[in-house]
Symmetry: C2
Subunit: 121 residues, 2 copies
């Protein structure tokens, strides 16, 4: 059994790259990933699943077709499955993502911004 709790700050201290989610824990077939975001991502959607964003530090704007939501430190937001969205962070934001194992950060869009999956830290 994995005995130690996951400390988010300690984990973030291990890397500086942005847009590269790292798995820190699993619950059944779901994964907890931490990631540093800054700037603009691409529009994408996840047809099969909701996606949870928990902001650990900073402010994340999530643009959606019918409006944007601003998620600050100590807040979370669930993007429903099938809803197109585009994350944006004016300054670097530290984020906890929760989603089923195997979900790609770019959804079905693919392309050069697709991150390597299943990278643990």
């Amino acid at each position: 059994m994995h005995r130690a709790p996951v400390n988010f700050e300690q984990k973030f201290g291990l890397f500086n790259e942005q847009w590269a989610p790292k798995v820190v824990a699993e619950m059944n077939d779901y994964q907890f990933k931490i990631v540093r975001l800054e700037g603009d991502f691409m529009w994408h959607e996840h047809e099969e699943t909701d996606e949870t964003f928990v902001v650990l530090e900073g402010t994340l704007r999530i643009d959606m077709p019918d409006g944007a939501v601003s998620v600050n430190t100590g807040e979370m937001f669930v993007v429903p499955k099938g809803v197109k969205h585009k994350p944006y962070a004016e300054r670097e934001v530290k984020l906890l993502l929760i989603e089923p194992r195997g979900v790609l950060n770019t959804g079905h869009e693919g392309g050069e911004r697709t991150a390597q999956n299943e990278q643990w830290i």
Copy 2:
């Protein structure tokens, strides 16, 4: 669509009772629940699912048959399915629980400490 992010502090400001989890969001068939814990709970297990504890404020000790883990502010721990555990908090702790919809706080033990399920806030 639910447009506003969930602000944990704002939600905790709406209740003071302990050991009474409140649902704040759902992701597919999983629920995010916030709860205030203080003191000792009962030994129980969840045979069908892992259970995730994210400590938002305070220190939670999770006793398990082969040892205890201490989870502090900004840390998370996943109790694997089938593992007996007993949460304990010397002082009040504010917690985010993540688990499938329908899971009871007392597992299969039942009894007077079983909380009402599906209570949203």
